[in-house]
């Protein structure tokens, strides 16, 4: 019982905190906040620490490498390729290991400098 009350208390504190904080979303031309982009677009599959290597939310469970600590430049280049062009038919995104569709959705609204920032953030994850 104590545990339940405590967790409810923690949850409500969380709510209060989220109301007071500054809202952020990628792709709105706001000053870039890489940690928030990572939390919103990447953490579901890659984990908050960048070390998660499997995900079962897709029709079939998928596995992949850990991304924490990877070279920022390589990361940025790859994410940009996954993102691809916004509209043109002749500008297809990368489909490395068949992850094209899964990577397209979270990256498509990121600007180039947002990608650079989030790559640096991932590279810095220990």
């Amino acid at each position: 019982m104590k545990k339940v009350v405590l967790s409810m208390l923690v949850a409500s504190i969380g709510l209060i905190a989220s109301e007071g904080t500054v809202p952020y979303k990628a792709g709105l031309l706001l000053p870039i906040q890489a940690d928030k982009i990572y939390a919103q677009e990447c953490a579901t599959c890659h984990g908050t620490d960048g070390k998660q290597t499997s995900f079962s939310g897709f029709p079939s469970s998928i596995v992949y490498s850990k991304i924490a600590g990877m070279d920022a430049e390589t990361l940025a280049k790859t994410i940009k390729e996954y993102r691809g062009g916004v509209a043109s038919k002749d500008y297809q995104p990368l489909n490395k290991y068949g992850y094209g569709a899964a990577m397209k959705a979270p990256t498509r609204d990121l600007s180039w400098d947002e990608i650079d920032a989030v790559a640096k953030y991932i590279s810095g994850l220990k």
Partner: protein, 491 residues
């Protein structure tokens, strides 16, 4: 500023006028009268009667998102038409009310950037509250929105006037440019375009840069080197559909002036299949292109820029006659497209233009992102207390300052009618205007509406290029916009 050129033009004008037994003063008076007519917002341009103002006592909190020309002039007019309005404008940009139609003139070396820079804070009407933040989350069910600083703003009535964004990042090779607004320092964009012939007049800073680049490549042509000038027009709706052509004409004029035209090849690559939606103006423009020996290729959309090799890549579309279809009893039409690589020395990019993502992804935006409104009353199709005008509104052919000059009156009348519990009777008919600069010293005043027919304000052939419209563009339209609309809310 090219005073010498203007002087020369004026003396040439005097000579032309004296042939018709008219002095420059008379002519200016005529142009001035037309300008005054426009000040009053009359359609004939000749009758300049003072508009009778009946003020409403309606109550309610009005929030205007976006303090550009559309938002700020709407605030001014609400002040004019209401006894005690409660108005809040949300606008983060310091130069939000800058005079964008002047960007072509800056790029043509006729005006300076200072001539078009206007500060938001100088144009907030008395009693109107200003929030210098950005609205980023919209909750129209609850009549509230949240700013980027976390401030929650509630409203009774909302006017969306957030404009549009210049989507350079969809062009391969220019992704790092990101998306831009026309005002602001736009360093990221200018860095991405570089210093090697790529430019765009769609931002104020970019207009200055365009003039620098243009002079550089005119000098190259003058030195005897064959120089290719390439101009684009994108596949999305754009603000000021005439601007991509105006910059063609201004470049042409400056090349002729420098005596370098023979070494230059000018080519225009529009995504569409015509020069203008109105047949009369289309024909006139095609005539002007032929006369000036400017080439054009329809159905070309810029998708990539190879900066290193100076090649613009277009997606070119066409249709071919296919095999016989026995069911339809006709030949099939097969759409084809291919990449076309075009070398350039000077490349003017008219970027694709999109609604801000925060609108597109909110319940206020349509599938394409624009705010869906009844195109006549400018009321939102789902939320009756929401209105929209200007570039962000989903209104056909409506993305010009000239459209806003008609829209803001309609919107204000209808909003006040709604607040007073009356019927929304004011209707926008799609009027817009493109003072198409065809040379330094001449303008074709292309006015039209949803009838897709010329709707001239003056009893003159609208397809003829005239110096008088040049004078109007240079001297009358800016004061009409800045003081007529933004300050008084009357023009």
């Amino acid at each position: 500023m090219d005073n010498q050129y203007i002087e020369k033009m004026l003396s040439k004008m005097d000579k032309d006028l004296s042939k018709h037994g008219m002095s420059r003063r008379d002519a200016m008076k005529m142009a001035g009268l037309s300008g005054a007519g426009l000040f009053m917002g009359t359609t004939t341009g000749i009758s300049a009667e003072e508009e009778k103002i009946v003020k409403s006592n309606a109550k309610g909190k009005i929030v205007i998102v976006g303090g550009g020309l559309a938002g700020m002039s709407t605030a001014a007019r609400l002040k004019l038409k209401m006894t005690d309005p409660d108005i809040t404008v949300i606008e983060p940009g310091e130069l939000s009310v800058s005079y964008q139609p002047g960007q072509t003139l800056v790029a043509g070396g006729i005006w300076d950037e200072d001539d078009i820079a206007y500060k938001r804070d100088d144009f907030v009407p008395d009693g109107v509250k200003l929030i210098k933040e950005r609205a980023v989350f919209f909750n129209p069910q609850e009549n509230q929105l949240t700013t980027d600083k976390g401030q929650v703003v509630t409203y009774d009535y909302l006017i969306v006037a957030m404009g549009l964004q210049l989507d350079f990042e969809r062009i391969k090779g220019l992704e790092e440019a990101g998306r831009a607004l026309s005002a602001g320092d736009n360093k990221k964009l200018l860095n991405a375009l570089g210093d090697d012939g790529i430019c765009s007049i769609y931002t104020a800073k970019g207009a200055t840069k365009t003039w620098e680049q243009m002079q550089k490549y005119i000098a190259q042509a003058k030195s005897g080197k064959k120089t290719k000038f390439v101009f684009t027009h994108p596949s999305t709706p754009i603000k000021c559909g005439g601007a991509p052509k105006k910059i063609v004409y201004l470049t042409n004029a400056r090349l002729k002036e420098a005596g370098a035209r023979d070494n230059a090849e000018l080519t225009f690559y529009p995504n569409g299949g015509a020069m203008f939606g109105v047949p009369e103006y289309h024909d006139a423009i095609v005539g002007q292109f032929k006369r000036e020996n400017i080439k054009y290729h329809y159905r070309h959309n810029l998708i990539e820029v190879d900066k290193e090799n100076k090649i613009a890549v277009f997606d070119a579309k066409w249709q071919e006659k296919g095999p016989w279809d026995p069911v339809m009893k006709d030949f099939e039409v097969i759409p084809k497209h291919e990449k076309v690589r075009v070398p350039y020395d000077f490349l003017h990019v008219a970027p694709a233009q999109i609604a801000p993502r925060e609108i597109a992804e909110s319940d206020l935006g349509s599938a394409k992102g624009w705010v869906p409104v009844n195109k006549e009353t400018l009321q939102h199709i789902r939320y009756e207390n929401v209105f929209s005008l200007g570039d962000v509104a989903q209104v056909p052919m409506g993305k010009t300052g000239g459209s806003v000059r008609k829209q803001y009156k309609v919107l204000v009348d209808n909003l006040i009618a709604l607040m007073d519990g009356k019927k929304l009777e004011a209707k926008y008919a799609g009027y817009t205007v493109c003072p198409l600069i065809t040379d330094i010293g001449t303008v074709m005043l292309a006015e039209f509406d949803w009838t897709v027919k010329p709707t001239p304000s003056f009893p003159l052939d609208p397809t003829v290029e005239r110096w008088m419209w040049w004078l109007m563009k240079i001297y009358a339209l800016k004061p009409m916009t800045v003081y007529g609309m933004l300050v008084t809310g009357r023009a």
